[in-house]
Amino acid sequence: MKPSTRRRLFRGVLYAIFIAAVAAVILVADWEAIRTSFLNPEVFGEQFPAIITTAAKNTIIYTVIAFIGGLLLGLALALMKLSPVAPYRWVATAYIELFRGLPALLVIFAFAFAVPIAFQWRPPGGTAGAGLIALIIVSAAYMAETIRAGIEAVPGGQLEAARSLGMNPSWTMVSVVLPQAIRIVTPPLTNELVILIKDTSLLFIAGMALNQRELTTFARDGVSQYANATPLVAAALMYLIITLPLTQLVARLEKRNKRGR
């Protein structure tokens, strides 16, 4: 058999398998059940407007708080990890390894229920607020490593140029290294943001007042209320509306950075 014939034959087989699989799904799937359980128009309509005015809004608020908090704490940890003073490096390394090694759910659970009882602590925003603090603490560990890598990716010649002009180490970091590092880490940090949007769903474990509910808690309550899975589909749509533009943005930023250097 000629190689070109063999290639064509192989491709034909791949198409045949694909068509057979699609046909099987269409024939086997219980469309009626899917429609009534997942795509019930009345239940879908009932989700609005609260799914936007409360749930999506809270998801975005929690994400922004966790991201900004994680970014500031992560920057501090990254600078500690690069510090000439050894104990700072040890603390930062221990922190990062600890919180990257634990499930976020466990940390949130501990902050929402164990820590307040043990230390007689009344977290702002109740157990949900405590869970949010846990999310900040966990995300800071990931962002610290990203920021550290960004700082180290700034070419050594930049430091030498700044120091040779008589700028001290602090000014060199603030006006020469960090501005360039931020540009380098923007795509990975945007990725962290997308992950964080999804991780706010873990806050459901903390328990929330009605007006504190974010998308996943809201959807879960909806499933119980209507004995129908449509609220999950509505929440999923909301997540995608928020995350898809961001993942597109990451792709564009990465392309721009590749061109830039």
């Binding site: 070419p155 010649g157 930049q158 030498e160 140029a161 700044a162 120091r163 040779s164 002009l165 008589g166 700028m167 001290n168 000014w171 006006s175 020469v176 501005p179 360039q180 540009r183 830039g260």
Partner: protein, 251 residues
């Protein structure tokens, strides 16, 4: 800002018994070297001879292993010396330009003036514009480094160093990363600086520049100064075999 006045008889740079090791690799093996006020000294030699390391030790971008380095009589190897202050008096130009890519040309020229010399914005801008004019790039003050050719970037880098009003300039192979047709502009600016009486230490492979602009040529090989003297003597009538061998390859 007032600088302490300099006595003319003291060398601008004085290096005594300088040694530098990178691990087991001895790069500088007891260098004695000086640059007088207003003198242009060109350091030549094969790659790996230690000439760039010597230059980088003079503003302590490299930490010397042993020996002393006096800049205008101040021992910069003394831990008590304020290095940042000394460095504002030593301009440095790198092979790879090392302009700050996130700042435009004016930003590159004013940043260290403001942060290290504590000049006001208006004064820093004025000094920057004067020096841009000097290197022939007055019309590019808003360009970003990525928008400039290599030759233009290197001239901006020279203007950036000059904006600190240094007493001396160090050049580390300033034309080695340039396309051949762009070398002339950069050498022209350096020649003009030399004519104005700037103290210069130039590590270079440009023998024509060393011959025409240099007051003295220093030939280094294997981490030692092999031979030095007037350009016409070292380049035209070398005394040492190693100098002859090197020059026969590059001339």
């Amino acid at each position: 800002m007032t600088e302490p006045s300099l006595s003319q008889d003291r060398p601008a740079i004085e290096v005594k018994e300088l040694c530098k090791n990178f691990g087991d690799n001895e790069v500088l093996k007891g260098i004695d070297f000086h640059v007088n006020q207003g003198e242009v000294v060109c350091v030549i030699g094969p790659s790996g001879s230690g000439k760039s390391t010597l230059l980088r030790c003079v503003n302590r971008l490299e930490e010397p292993t042993s020996g002393t380095i006096l800049v205008e009589g101040v021992d910069i190897t003394d831990p008590e010396t304020d290095l940042d202050k000394i460095r504002t008096r030593i301009g440095m130009v790198f092979q790879q330009f090392n302009l700050f890519p996130h700042l435009n040309v004016l930003g590159n020229l004013t940043l260290a003036q403001r942060r290290a010399k504590r000049r006001g914005k208006a004064e820093a801008m004025e000094v920057a514009r004067q020096n841009l004019e000097k290197v022939g790039l007055a019309n590019r003050e808003n360009a970003y480094p990525a928008q400039l050719s290599g030759g233009q970037q290197q001239r901006v880098a020279i203007a950036r160093a000059l904006s600190m009003n240094p007493d001396m300039m160090l050049f580390d192979e300033p034309t080695s990363a340039l396309d051949p047709e762009l070398v002339g502009d950069v050498l022209g600016v350096m020649r003009q600086l030399a004519d104005e009486g700037m103290t210069m230490m130039v590590v270079t492979h440009e023998m024509g520049f060393a011959r025409e602009v240099g007051d003295r040529v220093v030939f280094m090989d294997g981490g030692v100064v092999v031979e030095q003297g007037k350009p016409e003597d070292v380049l035209g009538n070398p005394q040492h075999e190693r100098t002859k061998a090197f020059l026969s390859k590059v001339l």
